[in-house]
């Protein structure tokens, strides 16, 4: 009897979380794109322009690493760009989300994680209607293989896990340290420059390379490129590495958030 009751209340909690998530995500998207002409597709504009810019500057000199084809460089840069863009936008939005809703959290009982998670979820939606269809088309053209198409979602899931973990971590830290955004900008820049988005990994000196491999975004980008661009069947070990980083950061984020929760309520 008691067990059934528990199960019932857990089901209710999950349902409540889901409904909260839905309404907060719709609100985010509504506010962001109210009265905008391109709507959700604004989020594609940034990586497209950046890709164009990098191609114009580096394309010619790096093309030799991409089978002497500028087109390959463009595709590689674009896939890297959308991944990194997703990470940096969603985490920096998550960063301020808990503190911004501090007043509300002090009035109504809410699962605190809902705010950073809803920021990530809004970006997942954006990615799914913006960049993902492009990636799907690219995969089909390059590999003509349905397995690659399914595998395409795996690095994306790893990316979501990683971003959620980092988002939880920074949103909790921000409550203790209000100057965190400046530091985070720096951290994000280090991650950006150390992931081979617009340059080929081959130009990095051997001694420095191991450090770059510590960057959890690198395997995610590499795995996505391998699946979308190479045309070969998915490399499982790459996917595995991508997931490893994602899962580690996701658990770290969840654990720290729970540990700090009781403390940061005093400071909201």
């Amino acid at each position: 009897m008691k067990l059934a009751l528990n199960e019932n209340s857990r089901k209710k909690q999950i349902q409540r979380y889901w409904e909260l998530l839905q309404i907060l995500v719709t609100r985010n998207l509504k506010i962001r794109y109210r009265g905008s002409f391109l709507g959700v597709y604004w989020s594609l504009l940034n990586p497209l322009i950046m890709t164009g810019l990098y191609t114009a500057i580096f394309g010619a000199s790096f093309a030799e690493y991409y089978n002497n084809s500028i087109w390959n460089y463009i595709l590689a840069a674009f896939t890297g760009m959308v991944v990194f863009n997703f990470f940096s936008t969603s985490t920096s939005q998550a960063l301020v989300s808990v503190l911004d809703n501090g007043v509300l959290l002090n009035k109504i009982r809410l699962p605190v994680t809902i705010f950073p998670v809803s920021m990530i979820a809004a970006n997942v939606f954006q990615f799914s209607v913006g960049a993902l269809p492009l990636l799907v088309v690219m995969t089909l053209i390059n590999s003509k293989n349905i397995i690659n198409l399914i595998a395409l979602f795996l690095p994306f899931i790893a990316l979501i896990l990683f971003s959620t973990g980092v988002g939880l971590l920074v949103s909790a830290l921000y409550i203790f340290f209000r100057d965190l955004p400046y530091f985070y900008e720096l951290v994000a820049f280090v991650l950006w420059i150390s992931s081979p988005v617009f340059y080929p990994a081959a130009i990095v000196p051997e001694k420095v390379k191991p450090f770059l491999e510590l960057n959890p975004i690198t395997p995610i980008i590499e795995s996505l490129r391998q699946i979308v661009l190479s045309g070969a069947s998915p490399d499982l070990s790459l996917i595995g590495t991508a997931f490893l980083g994602g899962i580690i950061f996701f658990s770290l984020g969840c654990i720290c958030f729970q540990l700090w929760r009781s403390q940061f309520m005093d400071l909201l």
């Binding site: 349902q15 409540r16 409904e19 909260l20 839905q22 309404i23 907060l24 609100r27 509504k30 506010i31 109210r34 007043v103 509300l104 959290l105 002090n106 009035k107 109504i108 009982r109 809410l110 203790f176 340290f177 209000r178 100057d179 965190l180 530091f183 009781s262 403390q263 309520m265 005093d266 400071l267």
Partner: protein, 244 residues
């Protein structure tokens, strides 16, 4: 049947002023070995309280005595540092309305948002939208963003949503008076309705006459301690005698 039970509940909180919000400064202090744990204040001190279903309880006491804090502990917003809190039934808070609104989206969207934040399902809220608009007298504004409403209208909307629901336990932090005279009357009728029903009500108020008239029982909190708990009249008398 008891609905709320506090067993030796204590809560210590960090004082905000004590705290340096600076990562750079904290890191430097740490390196110099001058870092110390932030001080904590005991806001609630071993409170025992049992509330039966349907009781109307007034909470009185000076500023900073922990009145609002105890409500937050009961609603589950804050977890006690030690002791146990048990609550049966759903709680609706009615504290400073309008905190959950988003000025940029429409009134209807806000009703859904606020209702779901308060813990009601989307399906239920959709059904209630019409009633709520009607009570708040805002039918003509359903699709207007909240920013386009006057502050009185926003307060009316907040009240309408929070009281449209029928909670088992209602929490009032400083009884509200919103809107113009005619709306105030409507509010009063609604609150009276809660009073007559089987709802358990907790009120924090500085209005002692109000507590005498509308509550059965009252508790006096003093610097985080439960000083006195009895019939509303007795508690208020005791409180007045001790303070003067």
């Amino acid at each position: 049947m008891e609905v709320i039970r506090l067993d030796r509940v204590s809560l210590s909180r960090r004082t905000q002023e004590e705290f340096s919000y600076d990562l750079k400064k904290t890191a430097l202090l740490f390196l110099q070995g001058k870092y110390r744990q932030p001080a904590r204040n005991l806001v609630l001190n071993k409170i025992d309280l049992v509330i039966e279903k349907g009781e109307k309880i007034g909470i009185i006491g000076g500023n900073g005595a922990g009145k609002s804090t105890i409500l937050k502990v009961i609603s589950g917003i804050l977890e006690p540092t030690s002791g146990k809190v048990r609550v049966q039934g759903n709680i609706a808070p009615l504290i400073e309305l309008g905190a959950g609104f988003d000025g940029k989206i429409s009134v209807t969207d806000n009703i859904l948002l606020y209702g779901i934040l308060l813990g009601f399902s989307r399906k239920e809220m959709k059904k209630r939208v019409k009633d709520i608009l009607e009570f708040a007298e805002l039918e003509d504004y359903a699709l207007v963003p909240i920013n386009g409403l006057s502050s009185g209208m926003v307060a009316r909307l907040g009240f309408a949503i929070a009281t449209d629901v029928q909670p088992d336990i209602l929490i009032l932090d400083e009884v509200l008076s919103v809107g113009d005279e005619s709306f105030k009357k409507k509010c009063k009728r609604r609150i009276d309705n809660f009073w007559h029903r089987d709802t358990t009500i907790l009120v924090v108020s500085h209005d002692l006459d109000f507590v005498r008239q509308s509550c059965e029982r009252a508790i006096w909190l003093d610097k985080g301690k439960l000083r006195f708990a009895s019939h509303a009249n007795e508690t208020v008398d005791y409180y007045l005698n001790s303070v003067n």
